[in-house]
């Protein structure tokens, strides 16, 4: 383990004493993303939890230059930065857009789709905490079936989560990857890899949110790990259309041993009102998604 650990940079680029909540999944993932990206990088960030983490003027807690943009324009502002850097001859600088699931799945999707279609040379990282957590846990199209949010307080969410990865796959991107804070080294590797590739790269991070999902802050890593063990979230990479599992999901795919989704659901308060039908429906969806991925992995 240590050899593997020490390839990760020891310096911190996200400084302590920031505004992220106790046990924030995003904060953990972001620590490794900044370690991987640190040099020659410009960030662009819409209104989100990440803006809160970056802090208030005149101080910031992140050591990477960052542009704050409006909610819908994340990818458009990234395209602008790329054009500006090209005009001034600084083509060795990577532009990274970091948005939440609201800024990716809902509000930012048209700008992202536009930039991806044009093949803008940038990384789009979506940290998916499955709702509008920054404004107080409202439902987004990334919220899973059966979750309680402040805008679905009685009936729970009745729709399944939108498959954003499939939408991004349809854009034929050179690199698509999913990552989880429970496997920080895998996350680090994927960001390092994405930085080397040219073209639009899309990375999705699952970011467990203790106040929004309703679990004690100490369980962040456990919840993220359970999401992978149950197959609700799958770690994979798609490079030029070639799909392969990575990290823990690879071993699960080989051994074919997945935990039932209930193990993941019962740990979180947001699923407490979920009906048996909904649990079954979710399990079916997870099963069919796995079969689809396994077929893709076989080629």
């Amino acid at each position: 383990m240590p050899e593997n650990l020490f390839k990760v940079k020891k310096e911190e680029y996200m400084l302590p004493g920031n505004r992220a909540c106790q046990g924030c999944g995003l904060s953990l993932a972001y620590r490794y993303a900044t370690k991987a990206l640190h040099q020659k990088t410009i960030l662009t960030i819409p209104a989100s939890c990440l803006t809160v983490l970056h802090g208030l003027y005149p101080t910031t807690s992140v050591m990477i230059p960052c542009l704050n943009c409006t909610f819908a324009s994340t990818a458009a502002s990234a395209a602008g930065l790329v054009a500006g850097l090209a005009a001034t001859g600084q083509t060795d600088t990577t532009v990274v857009a970091f948005a939440g699931d609201g800024g990716t799945y809902d509000i930012g999707i048209q700008a992202l789709s536009g930039a991806a279609e044009r093949g803008t040379d940038f990384i789009f990282a979506c940290y998916d905490n499955e709702g509008y957590m920054n404004t107080g846990t409202q439902r987004s199209s990334a919220t899973p079936l059966g979750a309680l949010t402040t805008t679905t307080p009685i009936l729970t969410k009745v729709q399944h989560k939108k498959d954003m990865l499939k939408i991004m796959e349809a854009h034929h991107l050179p690199y698509i990857a999913t990552t989880s804070p429970a496997y920080p080294i895998d996350l680090y590797d994927k960001f390092v890899k994405a930085k080397r590739i040219v073209g639009t790269r899309y990375l999705q991070i699952q970011a467990p949110c203790p106040p929004g999902w309703g679990y004690p802050p100490r369980d962040t890593v456990k919840i993220a790990r359970l999401a992978i063990e149950t197959g609700i979230f799958v770690l994979f990479e798609i490079e030029d259309g070639k799909f392969h599992f990575t990290s823990r999901s690879k071993t699960i795919a080989q051994r074919g041993r997945r935990l039932p989704v209930v193990n993941y659901l019962e740990k979180q308060e947001r699923f407490q009102k979920m009906s048996m039908d909904q649990i079954e429906s979710l399990q079916k969806m997870v099963d069919s998604k796995w079969q689809e991925y396994q077929k893709k992995a076989e080629g």
């Binding site: 302590p16 004493g17 046990g23 101080t59 802050p217």
Partner: protein
């Protein structure tokens, strides 16, 4: 990075403790039992899973492992993930370790 650009009027400077001393948020504090902690027991750089999983980056990978209590928010992930169960969360204000 510190270079002033006259076209930018509101540029933030990097600082530790942007939100103040976030150690004040804690109700439970992590206490390391060094007789169980793997790097101290083996007397070499090993394990460091607490450093890996700390969302704040306040854990220092030395021998012995140290935690910056000024900024540790007390989430308890380190205590949960420690394979040797060397870290325990004790209520803030208890001085006997």
């Amino acid at each position: 990075m510190e270079k002033k650009d006259e076209n930018i009027s509101a540029m933030s400077t990097v600082a530790v403790g942007e939100a103040g001393r976030t150690g004040d948020w804690r109700d439970l504090k992590p206490v390391i039992n060094h007789s169980k902690c793997i790097p101290t027991v083996k007397n070499k750089a090993a394990c460091y899973l607490c450093w890996l999983y700390c969302p704040e980056g306040v854990i220092k990978t030395g021998i012995p492992v140290e935690i910056d209590m000024d900024y540790c928010k007390g989430c308890g992930i380190c205590a949960e993930e420690c394979p040797a169960k060397a870290i325990s969360m004790v209520p803030e204000g208890d001085n006997d370790e």
